[in-house]
């Protein structure tokens, strides 16, 4: 008599395709996933507790470590949150610099996605291509602030230093260099028949499920919901810039499948280049810092500020109490919800497709675990 039984597979926390330390408990029936249970918390560092112990300025370096592939964006979100809480006016030049840096970092982050996504579904070369271009953005960051990963470049009220001489020309050069590369990616990977077949119709996330599970960012847009905080509630100079919101079109199958999530990010990089070009043209001369006291004592007030990060909505909920450090600082990481939704997407798929789905959601664990 033949018998079948459910098998529990423990995927991670040291699995190469889980992008860090995500652990998935997969209940499988043969090759089919019946139930998926994500386990997180391996990178919990208690950043929210630390925030209550240090003052507002001192917390900035910790924001670098929320999402280390998009440190600039995290800096940006935290700076904006405190500025709005305080009512600080940021000099125009600084606003432009911050938007340029955020968009460069978005490109850098999406390039890592491009590379690692290719690698997870079995194409090694894109990783080399992705990192080759990312290297150039890191050079730009290094020239501006001396760091290549955790920048700590922005501060409450502006940025720490003005751009070095010749930086804007280098940035333009990068834009000219990078834009044609996207066609190269399409030739190399995107429209590869195997790649499209591997991802089309796999891991479809409907817009209803995406909203119900709090999915944001490119993953939500891939499901067809054109929600971008840079457009909805613009911060800094985003309201003066022209750019489109790419959404999923179901090119290789259904709207909201793995291929759409890939494609939306590639299109976003093009939009980022467009934003950077406009900023470089519009950026005025002038100060890069507002006058901000060294120790901020913010009277009892609160704010919930959201920013559009490469991975989705990064929210800072800050409750001030008149002391130099916040009463409570809660960080809402996009990856937290993007991992939660795996429970919903994975059942019914093959184990091998789980790898593609995890990679296509582009989660990062320090942002989830904080």
């Amino acid at each position: 008599m033949l018998e079948t039984q459910e098998l529990v597979i423990n995927m991670g926390p040291q699995h190469p395709s889980t992008h860090g330390v995500l652990r998935l408990l997969l209940h499988t029936d043969g090759e089919i996933i019946v139930e998926a249970q994500p386990h997180v918390g391996y990178l919990h560092r208690g950043i929210e507790k630390i925030a209550e112990k240090v003052n507002y300025h001192q917390f900035m370096p910790y924001t670098d470590r929320i999402d280390y592939l998009a440190s600039m964006n995290c800096n940006h979100a935290y700076a904006c949150a405190v500025e709005r809480l305080m009512g600080i006016e940021v000099p125009e030049r600084a606003q432009f610099i911050r938007v340029i840096m955020s968009e460069l970092n978005r490109i850098a982050s999406h390039l890592v996605f491009f590379g690692s996504f290719g690698m997870d579904v079995g194409a090694f070369t894109p990783f080399l291509y992705g990192l080759r271009e990312r290297e150039r953005t890191l050079d730009l960051f290094e020239a501006a602030c001396g760091q290549r990963l955790t920048y700590n470049y922005m501060k409450i009220g502006g940025v720490r230093w003005d751009l070095p001489p010749g930086w804007t020309d280098k940035c333009r050069e990068f834009c000219d260099y990078f834009e044609p590369k996207i066609q190269e990616y399409h030739d190399l990977l995107t429209y590869n028949y195997i790649f499209m077949k591997r991802l089309g119709n796999i891991g479809v996330l409907t817009p209803e499920d995406a909203l119900a599970y709090g999915v944001t960012g490119p993953n939500l847009r891939a499901s067809g919901v054109a929600y971008d905080i840079r457009k909805e509630e613009p911060y800094d100079v985003y309201d003066r810039l022209e750019f489109d919101i790419p959404v999923g079109t179901g090119e290789a199958g259904a709207v909201g499948d793995c291929f759409d999530r890939y494609m939306v990010r590639i299109k976003e990089m093009q939009q980022s280049v467009r934003i950077i070009r406009q900023c470089l043209d519009m950026m005025p001369e002038g100060d890069v810092q507002a006058r901000v006291p060294r120790v901020l004592k913010i009277p009892p007030k609160e704010i919930y500020f959201r920013a559009e990060n490469p991975r989705g909505e990064l929210g800072f909920y800050i409750v001030a109490n008149g002391k130099p450090s916040p009463e409570r600082l809660k960080i809402r990481g996009a990856s937290f919800s993007n991992i939660h939704v795996m429970e919903k997407i994975l059942p019914g798929l093959m184990v091998a497709d789980a790898v593609a789905v995890i990679a296509s959601l582009d989660v990062i664990l320090p942002e989830c675990d904080r």
Binding site: G41, A212, E233, P300, E302, R306, G315, K330, R332
Partner: protein, 156 residues
Amino acid sequence: MKDLNTLVQDLQAAVEGAIEEVVTENTQPPYIIVKKEKIVPVLEYLKKEGFNHLSAVSAVDEPPEKIWVVYHLVAIGEKSTLAVKTVLPRDAAEVDSVGNVYPTALWHEREAYDLMGVKFKGHPDLRRILMPDDWVGHPLRKDYEQIKEYHGIKTD
């Protein structure tokens, strides 16, 4: 989308006796304080009114007596945000789970339970999420004392 005053009036009519206070000063976005027994119908109503995205559930400790639970709602496409707060007694912090209204709340509630010790009635799987399963205490409480040792690892 209705403006805040109309929304509050309609909410008052739809869920009787739910609203305790509406605060618009010194806060972005404005928030509504509701009775803890009414949190599920209030959020159900607001979801119907267009607040389709629950961005975060946060718990805020206010010793000696209170713990706040804060729900940040966003109406995608309407450029509208709103917060809903409810206050719980600190020594018996318990409120109904809103997981049936917004599934995303299930994980946020686990986090609030893990770090702040708020219990959510009706939550199908209320376990720790960020801290290890055998951890003692809720680290984000103001009176939390750091343990000296964890499985032979010194923490000071």
